[in-house]
């Protein structure tokens, strides 16, 4: 027993297609499909698609991207403070 566990092989086989169809990468004029809609299109159970999507959304960027996020925000925040308060030295804080 245990919780529903996705077969890693099923994940590998379908993750790119599920990511392409869901809301993770949005393009104009192309609404992301729901898990149910993706399941119908790929002929998979909805629960399986939900699991593939959840894992893939977390899996598509490595941990380094989280570290880059920290640096991006730190820099952007200081740049805005410097601009808004007209204190350019804050940029280098």
């Amino acid at each position: 027993m245990g919780i529903f566990r996705l077969d890693p092989e099923v994940y590998k086989q379908h993750k790119d297609e599920v990511l392409r169809l869901c809301n993770s990468f949005q393009k104009i004029g192309q609404r992301g499909l729901s898990d149910r809609e993706i399941a119908e299109r790929l002929g998979l159970p909805e629960r399986t698609v939900t699991e593939i999507r959840c894992v893939a959304e977390r899996d598509c960027y490595p941990l380094e991207e989280w570290e880059r996020a920290i640096e991006f925000k730190r820099k952007a925040t200081l740049e805005w403070s410097a601009l808004a308060l007209k204190r350019p030295e804050l940029k280098d804080k």
Partner: protein, 286 residues
């Protein structure tokens, strides 16, 4: 209680919402979601017989929050809690005052990172704002707001969608003419490690691409995703001392602070909104 729906019910509902702390309150027709949202993510899917969706907005960051030199200030302040409590109050009010079902929609997720219902779509359909190039719904009068929604079987009067969008703001149109970009596209370009792509066309914002997965690493850096990533890294680290560095280090500690602090989602990246003239405006203060 009379069976007839009081003609002044919508006015009373909105007055109650504003008194409870909402900055704006609008009502969308529940059936209007059918055209935009997939089955399973419509009001009637959560509350069979739903007739209207009440949307409240507010609890936005203050001028001082936007100016903070540390991104962790807004990360900690950026919580939907305060407007969610207004939503909960309205659900109770609808049931006790009018005798109709009121389902407060939790701001959490239905599966993975997918919400029960799109709050952004609800705010748009209730006429409270429109989608910005960066993504968040912006109110013409108040800019960036947090949202809470209540689905109800009560037939409240429906508001029309907003006619003129807040985005693009006049300074953004000027910037587009001058530089071929806008503040939000410039700060977070998908072509250079960011999340957004788009353009202005006939004075209207057109978003052409949005990398929600990367946005998630920024909006929820120290949140569920960050926790899972470090945990995964830790489980794969055979060296006990190196495992300790990961688990006791700043990233994991800050993540635990965040995810144990609140029961609702906390936004952690505001950079596209921080530079957006329509989101908050730069207020000069003493």
């Amino acid at each position: 209680m009379s069976d007839a729906f009081p003609p002044d019910a919508t006015r009373r509902l909105k007055t109650t919402a504003l008194k409870a702390g909402a900055v704006v309150c609008g009502v969308a027709d529940a059936a209007a979601f059918d055209k935009h949202a997939p089955q399973g993510h419509r009001p009637d899917d959560l509350l069979p017989g739903a007739r209207s969706v009440v949307v409240v907005g507010g609890a936005q960051p203050r001028a001082g929050d936007w100016l903070a030199t540390s991104p962790w200030v807004l990360q900690t302040m950026g919580t939907t809690d305060r407007i969610q409590s207004v939503g909960r109050k309205l659900a109770q009010y609808i049931e006790s005052e009018f005798g109709y079902y009121g389902l407060y929609v939790p701001p959490g997720s239905a599966a993975g990172d997918t919400p029960f219902i799109s709050f952004a779509l609800a705010a748009e359909l209730a006429g409270l704002g429109s989608r910005s190039l960066a993504g968040p719904i912006l109110s013409r009068e108040h800019g960036f707001l947090y949202w809470s929604i209540v689905i109800t079987t009560a037939p409240f009067d429906v508001d029309p969608p907003e006619a003129e969008p807040a985005c693009p703001a006049p300074p953004c149109r000027e910037m587009w003419e001058r530089e071929g970009t806008t503040p939000c596209l410039k700060i977070c370009p998908a072509s250079n490690g960011g999340c957004l792509e788009g353009r202005l066309e006939n004075g209207r914002a057109v978003r052409t691409f949005y990398d929600a997965a990367r946005c998630n690493t920024r909006v929820h850096t120290h949140w569920i995703g960050g926790f899972q990533k470090v945990l995964d890294e830790t489980l794969n680290e055979p060296d006990k001392e190196k495992r300790k560095m990961l688990l006791y280090g700043d990233f994991f500690t800050r993540t635990l602070w965040a995810i144990t602090y609140s029961s609702t989602n906390i936004a952690q990246c505001f950079e596209c909104m921080r530079v957006c003239p329509a989101a908050h405006g730069l207020k000069e203060m003493k």
